[in-house]
Amino acid sequence: MSANLANQERLRIFGLLSPAYLWLTVAIFLPLSAMLYFSFLSDVPFGDADWHHTTKNYQAFFQTKTYATLLWKSIRLGLTVTAVAVLVGFPCAYVLAKTIKGRSREALFLLVILPFWSNSLVRIFSWAIVLRGNGVLELGLNAILPFQVDVNLMFSTPAVVIGLVHSYLPYVILTSYLALQAIDDNLIDAARSMGANKLTILWRVILPLSLPGLLAGAVLIFVPVVGSFMEPRILGGRVGTYYGTVIEDQFVAVFNWPLGAALSFILLAVVLLILAIASPVLKRAQT
């Protein structure tokens, strides 16, 4: 009887879970495995293409400096965007969590994270209109400043950084806000009553306690920025060649899928390494 019940329960668990997880397997995990396999082929195994197993796609990465240089360029872009977003976003999260009280806080918080959930491509496009020469930024600055300035940030690295910070800033604000909100105000009062000045409180109390949230936000920004290709394409123009755009080219322009798969997989390895290093911090941020 009880064995029967246990069987029934097992069946129910299986019935409820298997559709979702089968779907994830077919759409995420099998494709990732297929990509790994593909990265060791000389040509696509479709039609009558002549193909064999090879490691030449990985050799291409390690022998020519081009790809490694671009990967490093993308990592540097990721570090820059993350640093700017943290410096800009953390004070903002602090103001939201500790300075503003009551109902307006909820509304302001929603306003800050709302753009994050809207279309990223469209937001990048909106920057193109602002930053282009003879664009709104230039007109606006010339209206305020007493002298004429030429501002054409479009198709430059700063444009790419601005667009990416705009895209991912809400991430770090969200995670820092949640961490800061969890800090007991009494702790800050206690430090103050014992004579700590504002800087000491920030450095010794607030930063250490909110660090997991801050780092979680930083990782959540860094990872997608390293793999970005649409933003550099639109805002970077000729200087917008990054590791991500090279992968994109392999799939939509050059049609060298095995090389693209190898480059994707190297990127995945970098991402997994970063996530693995950060995972103790991410786990602490969850709780």
Binding site: I13, W23, A27, L30, L32, M35, F46, G89, W127, A128
Partner: protein
């Protein structure tokens, strides 16, 4: 420095951030109502770019396709995700932790990698590019969000209610239908809205999986931008951003996402 001064400075900073976040979107929307094709000022109010949109069959088709794909994704991801959340909440079993960790890769791995991997796999199994592939991909990306949002709602659910119903003779399906689902309905609605937003705003995966000439709205916009900017793109982009922000405002109402309730 006095505390009042610092607080003012902080609020000013917040105002700057909000300006930074919304100004470009506002400029884009503003320019979509400007008659000049080259974004020239002075501003001359006109609806002609919106009229042009309605007559552009390619854009109308892509918009229709995007909405249909988002609706299909919403239905599938919400049903599968809710079922999985209920199982993860109600039962204790071996490997549960592993299943929860498996929700992480679709969110954490850059879409460039997931998208190209899907392209390779779907070609390998003979499915190729096209709307079915796009839907399969979108559902996979939306599922973790649905499960996370619905699970968050379930966490506030008192499991003894299920036991009470069961002890009163309700079978498992009745318990689910009459007790569990009504309680988590707001979480399910929020999850569904998240799923819609993930699909409707998705660009990267759609880009690799959709057939040229048969693409979704964001993919069409991307290819048009690379050919050159026109206020027509402003107009359709403005519509998209209004729709996706409205969807998320609804989702925020139905979930405690970020709120402190």
């Amino acid at each position: 420095m006095s505390g009042v001064f610092l607080a003012r400075l902080g609020k000013l900073w917040l105002a700057c951030i909000l300006f930074f976040l919304y100004a470009p979107i506002a400029v884009m929307a503003f320019m979509s109502f400007n008659a000049s094709q080259y974004y020239q000022l002075p501003f001359d109010f006109s609806l002609k770019w919106y009229e042009k949109l309605a007559g552009n069959q390619e854009i109308v088709d892509a918009a229709t396709r995007s909405v249909m794909i988002a609706l299909a994704t919403t239905v599938i991801a919400t049903i599968l995700g809710t079922a999985a959340s209920v199982a993860l909440f109600r039962y204790e079993f071996r490997g549960k932790r592993f299943l929860q960790v498996m929700l992480f890769p679709p969110i954490a791995i850059p879409w460039l990698i997931t998208g190209t991997a899907m392209l390779i796999f779907f070609f390998g199994v003979g499915l190729g590019r096209g709307t079915p592939s796009v839907i399969i991909g979108h559902v996979a990306l939306a599922l973790p969000y649905v499960i996370v949002v619905v699970s968050a709602r379930l966490a506030t659910f008192d499991a003894t209610l299920e036991e009470a119903a069961r002890s009163l003779g309700a079978d498992s399906w009745t318990v689910t239908r009459e007790v569990t689902l009504p309680w988590i309905s707001s979480g399910v609605i929020a999850g569904a809205l998240f799923a819609f937003a993930v699909s409707f705003d998705q660009f990267v995966v759609s880009y690799f999986l959709s057939e040229p000439g048969d693409s979704t709205l964001p993919v069409l916009i991307y290819t048009s931008i690379r050919k050159g900017f026109t206020p027509e793109i402003n107009a359709i982009s403005t519509i998209i951003i209004v729709v996706s922000m409205a969807v998320m405002l609804f989702a925020a109402r139905f979930s405690n996402f970020g709120g402190e309730r």
